[in-house]
Structures are given as C-alpha cells and as structure tokens.
Symmetry: C2
Subunit: 254 residues, 2 copies
C-alpha cells in the first residue's frame, strides 16, 4: 500500500520503518520538525513535506502525533476518499471525521523510543474503523507488520488504555519507588532486577492472580505493620503502601 505518515516522533519513526521493511511504499513524511522529519523520510525512501495543505496522494494516512495535536491535524488535512487513522489509545475516532469519512485507529501497544529498533512482529496493534471495510483494510495493513492484531471497538480500546496505565505506567512508578528506597540505604536497584524480570516473564504463562505473593496476599499483618512503621517518615508513601495492600486484601476477601 501507499502510505503517508504525519509525525516524526517515536511512534511515527517505528511505524515508518516497519511499513518500509514490510515492502510498503512510504509516499511522504509530513512533519513540522524538519530535522526529524527529513531524516526519517530519507531513512524510509520517502519525500519530506512540512505542509499539511499540500499532501501527495496516498491510500492510507497515519496520523502519529501527540494526542492533543490529532484534532488540529485532522481539521487541517483533507483526504476524503482515503483512509485516515490515528495511533492513540485514548482519543475518540470521531476526531478524524473532518479529514475523511473513512477513518479509524491504528494503535501499537508498546513503549517506543525513536532510536531503539523494535521487533514489530511482536507488537500488539489495536485496530478500529468507523466502518467494516475501513477496519478490515487497517487490520490487513497491521497484519503485514505484526502477528498480534486485535480488532476492537472504541470502548474496549479506551479500557485497554486504562489497563495499560496500571500494568505499565503505574508498575514503572513502583520500580522508581523501589529504586529510591534502596538508594537511601546505599543499595543499587540492580539487586531487584532479576526479580522484576522474572515476575514479568511469569505472567506470560500464568494469570497474575495465581502468581500473587507477598505479605498482603498471605494476610501477614505483622510484616505489613512493620513495613508501615518503616515508612512512617514519608506519610504519602505510607498511604500508598496502605492503599495497594488494602486492594490486594480486598481481592482475596481478607
């Protein structure tokens, strides 16, 4: 397929490279940032274009820009008759109505950086379309770069996004808290890395519910009280420990 990509950030870069490797033609990279845009365009044999009002003709337009810029881009481009999709987990599909009557979502569910190349075959891609044909063309495009393609509706996609916040953003924050507590004791987070990796590997094959360990799920209130006591100098952190512990206890009906 002939594809245009709007954006030159992490997601735009990784998608452009994956599409190109799968044999698609990238017509152009459209971006305000000329440095990143032109470099990416060169990298995937595409033209660089900084003008949303003068797009070349592609079959599919992927708008891979920050969430809050999607609406602005969509109102400025006119690609009626073509398919346009954004890459956001959370933004509604109707934002794209002004750009084209056939629109959807192409949401790759993975953390991405611009420089570290991803094995896209393993990246789940979440597809939504405002009609069946659009959804199925976007899914076909997704299947050309990934083995994990999921068709969902808008409500499902938005819950997937909330779930990802718990499973990724919040867990990473807990890694940060662990690092801070260890550093205060002159200990490196290195000591926890095998445990962290193993936990993430374990849930590849088992439900997290059966893997739950620790004082809360054991109902070990002596250890919980001791931990709360240790955390007494940081009231907010102590409250956070208490909230998560209570949530685990509730889950077990304790």
């Amino acid at each position: 397929m002939n594809i245009s990509i709007v954006g030159a950030g992490n997601v735009a870069t990784q998608l452009a490279i994956a599409f190109r490797s799968a044999g698609h033609r990238i017509i152009e990279i459209v971006a305000r940032n000329e440095e990143h845009g032109a470099a990416l365009a060169k990298n995937v044999d595409a033209e660089f274009n900084s003008n949303l009002k003068a797009l070349a003709g592609a079959d599919i337009y992927i708008i891979a820009v920050k969430d809050d810029a999607i609406s602005d881009v969509a109102t400025r481009i006119d690609v009626e008759g073509k398919i346009v999709a954004h890459t956001s987990g959370v933004k509604p599909i109707f934002l794209l109505t002004d750009a084209s009557a056939t629109h959807g979502v192409f949401y790759p569910l993975q953390t991405m950086t611009r420089h570290q190349q991803l094995n896209f075959a393993e990246v789940p891609i979440i597809i939504e379309g405002n009609d069946e044909v659009t959804a199925s063309i976007l899914a076909q495009l997704a299947k050309s770069i990934s083995t994990k393609v999921y068709r969902v509706n808008e409500q499902q996609r938005q819950w997937i996004h909330v779930a990802a916040v718990f499973a990724n953003n919040f867990t990473n924050h807990f890694y940060s808290i662990a690092e801070k507590l260890l550093n205060e004791q002159g200990v490196s987070i290195e000591i926890l890395l095998p445990l962290i990796l193993r936990s993430a590997e374990n849930i590849q094959h088992n439900s997290p519910k059966v893997l739950q360990t620790g004082p809360a799920v054991r109902g070990d209130f002596r250890t919980i009280d001791r931990h709360l006591q240790m955390l007494r100098d940081d009231e907010k952190l102590q409250a956070l420990y208490r909230s998560v512990t209570e949530s685990i206890l509730r889950g077990r009906g304790i």
Copy 2:
C-alpha cells in the same frame, strides 16, 4: 560443605537442588511434611528426618521455613558451634540466637515455585551474619551457587524487602487489576503481555525514572480525568488510580 536444610517448601527445594548441583553434600532434609520432605531428600541424595531434636551433624543449617515458623524452629534445635541461617527478607537475625551463637541470613531474592527449576546463578542472594566470619562463610556458600551475592546489614535487608514488595508484589497486583478491567470488556490480558515484558526488560538497562511514561508524567490531566471518570463505578479502584497518579505527579514536581 555439609549442609542440613530445615523445610521442604519452595525455597528449601530450590536451595537444596542448587547446593547439590554445586557439589555440596546435603546431610539431611528436616521437615514435618513427610511426603515433601522425603521426596526432596531422595532428590538430593540426603536423609529425611522429621525430628528437630535429633539432627545429624552438618557445618551449616539453613532454616528455609515460613517466616512465622523460624522462631519456633530456632528454639527447638541446638546446633551450637555450627552456622545457622534463615532465608527470610524480613525476620531479624537475633531469632536464631538460641540455636547457635554463629548465625545469619541467606535470603534468595527471587520468586520461587517448587516445581519450576531456577537458574540459581542469576538469583541475588542477600547475606548477613552476626559476625564477620559467619557472614563470610555464608557468602562463600552463596557464591558457590550464584554470581550475585550481596552482603548487607539488617536495616538494608529490611528495606530491600519493602522495595521488593513495591517492585514485585504491588506490580503483580496491578497486572491483576489490568486483567480484571480487560476481562470485563471481553479482552484477554494477552494484549498487554508484550508491553509488560518490555517494561521489565527496559529497566534492566535504564533507571525507571527516565523510563516513566503515561498521562501522569506528561501532566495530561484530560486523560487522567477521563480515566477517573471511566473508573467511577469502582470507588476503591478510582481512589487507587488517584493515589498512584498523585505519587507520579509529586515525583515530577507537578
């Protein structure tokens, strides 16, 4: 070295196998549960013994029982002149004083199940001793089965335990919450597994602080409000989302 192990649960099993593979002699497995104890003893060419009052002579006694049983075991055995160590992250070292004047901690920091064999070379082992000679003998034993051996003091070990609760138990609970939210939408947690694995891999090489992503660290209050709104039917879960989000915002001075 000649080793006796008290216990026949997950930690006892994994340690016994690792010691045996490293060429140590396991004198006996001491356990109340005859089925597990005798099976483990057979597996590592050891005797099985269910009587704490009639121990055979070993150089080192590893008490790998549940936290709350350590004290009881320690008061019932008398191995004065030998080294005795428990495997707990949280229990104080002095619990072992009655068993022997030379005592310490041999705490493998990894989740373990009885049946899935661990590559112990990669398991951090946290060592503490009531004197320098004891600590150094326990560290030497640890180094015979692992490349990651850490000498710590009691306060450090107890903070490592708190940090592990955040980095492992609490994160696993958030995987459970994610699974529950997805299942309510008819979506499998499978969709999040690559993201979860990648996050845990990423912090093997980078500080979690620089890896933090998501609405909170971006100060994206529109998405945060939307998520809170979506979670309105589960007040407790909504409060938990709010607590962790506020903690991320605080970390960024937002």
